[in-house]
Assembly symmetry: C2
Homo-oligomer: 207 residues x 2
């Protein structure tokens, strides 16, 4: 079964293909995708074998066909509806993030505890957190984004899961875990930055 | 040599310790940290051995001592100055992100190509991109954040590196690579979301 990193590489190949198509590429080879995404050609071949993607009989891949195939594997053919909890700075920026629409992601509502943030008329309405459960059930939403302060994150996760959410992208810097049938991706910006600082300092010490 | 995931786990232990200290914990065991961060106790022990962190003679770890040690390894004792390029929605949200200050990260200036965004009087000034090189050299900045549209990201990276930046956190959805002596962390929000969608769909299909 593929793991998280396998799927992330697949996303990268897809993004590279979109750009290559814009450059009028008709055919690509594993080496092209390797160059464009920073992995080895052997890795590309291995991934394509994992996901059962086969070459043309004459070698190489047809760009449009391959893109269609990757879109299908990555479920890009359908739009996926998300809710978001937390309408602070980061939450508001995510509501406007153009990459989501490009990815077939649609945030349909945001929830918050702060009445000053409520806005039912907005294109993406900001609603009281108390309405989350009904909204998720009624619209059969399966995906959520947590962009609350750390202290609220665990409680929000519990609420999301009990309403029926199955996949969560968490931006709070607390590491969240859920039940087995729930997928949680934790994005910890502080850790990412600590990482960069660590490795830059390490490189400078070893000079 | 530790890899990226090792350092990310170390960050997680540190974040858990900060919370345990707030709960008046004086002593912790590997099992406590494992529970709080979702890894196995064996992994915690292995990580502590990698980073040369040893137990008390009576078993367990003193919370304050361990925190001091992790802070030192993760370079949290000093403030690290960052510049950011791209003052759009995401860029502006990052300028206000409270987690950075908490992590000893200080964004000292932001750069953009759009004169409408310039703001020299702001607490974190937004300056013309042409001033980046001089600013970075003058203030000896080593770290940068890219929050530009995808098409600009590669060019911004080249500019940062030539000015002397050694570590970059990239939020554009194009995968960036730099020279060997430069550390780049690519955060691709679209990929993260694609990942969640993929695994939730996979789980539902296999039901």
């Amino acid at each position: 079964m593929p793991n998280k990193n396998d799927v992330i590489r697949l996303s990268r190949y897809r993004n590279a293909l979109v750009r290559l198509r814009a450059l009028n590429f008709v055919k690509v080879f594993c080496d092209n995708l390797a160059d464009a995404t920073g992995v080895s050609a052997a890795q590309v071949r291995k991934d394509f074998s994992t996901f059962d993607i086969s070459q043309n009989s004459r070698g190489g891949y047809d760009v449009k066909e391959l893109l269609k195939r990757l879109n299908k594997i990555l479920n890009k053919d359908t739009t996926h509806e998300f809710i978001e909890v937390g309408a602070g700075n980061l939450g508001k920026a995510l509501l406007r993030y153009p990459g989501f629409a490009r990815s077939g992601i649609k945030i349909v509502a945001c929830f918050d505890v702060d009445p000053d943030k409520y806005d039912r008329q907005a294109e993406i309405p900001v609603l009281p957190i108390e309405e989350l459960d009904d909204f998720v059930r009624e619209h059969q939403i399966r995906f959520g984004i947590i962009s609350t302060p750390d202290v609220a994150a665990q409680q929000v996760l519990v609420r999301m899961i009990s309403a029926g959410i199955k996949g969560v992208l968490n931006f709070a810097s607390i590491y969240l875990r859920g039940p087995e049938d729930c997928v949680i991706n934790n994005i910890n910006l502080e850790s990412e930055i600590e990482n960069i600082v660590y490795f830059v300092n390490l490189a400078e010490k070893s000079k």
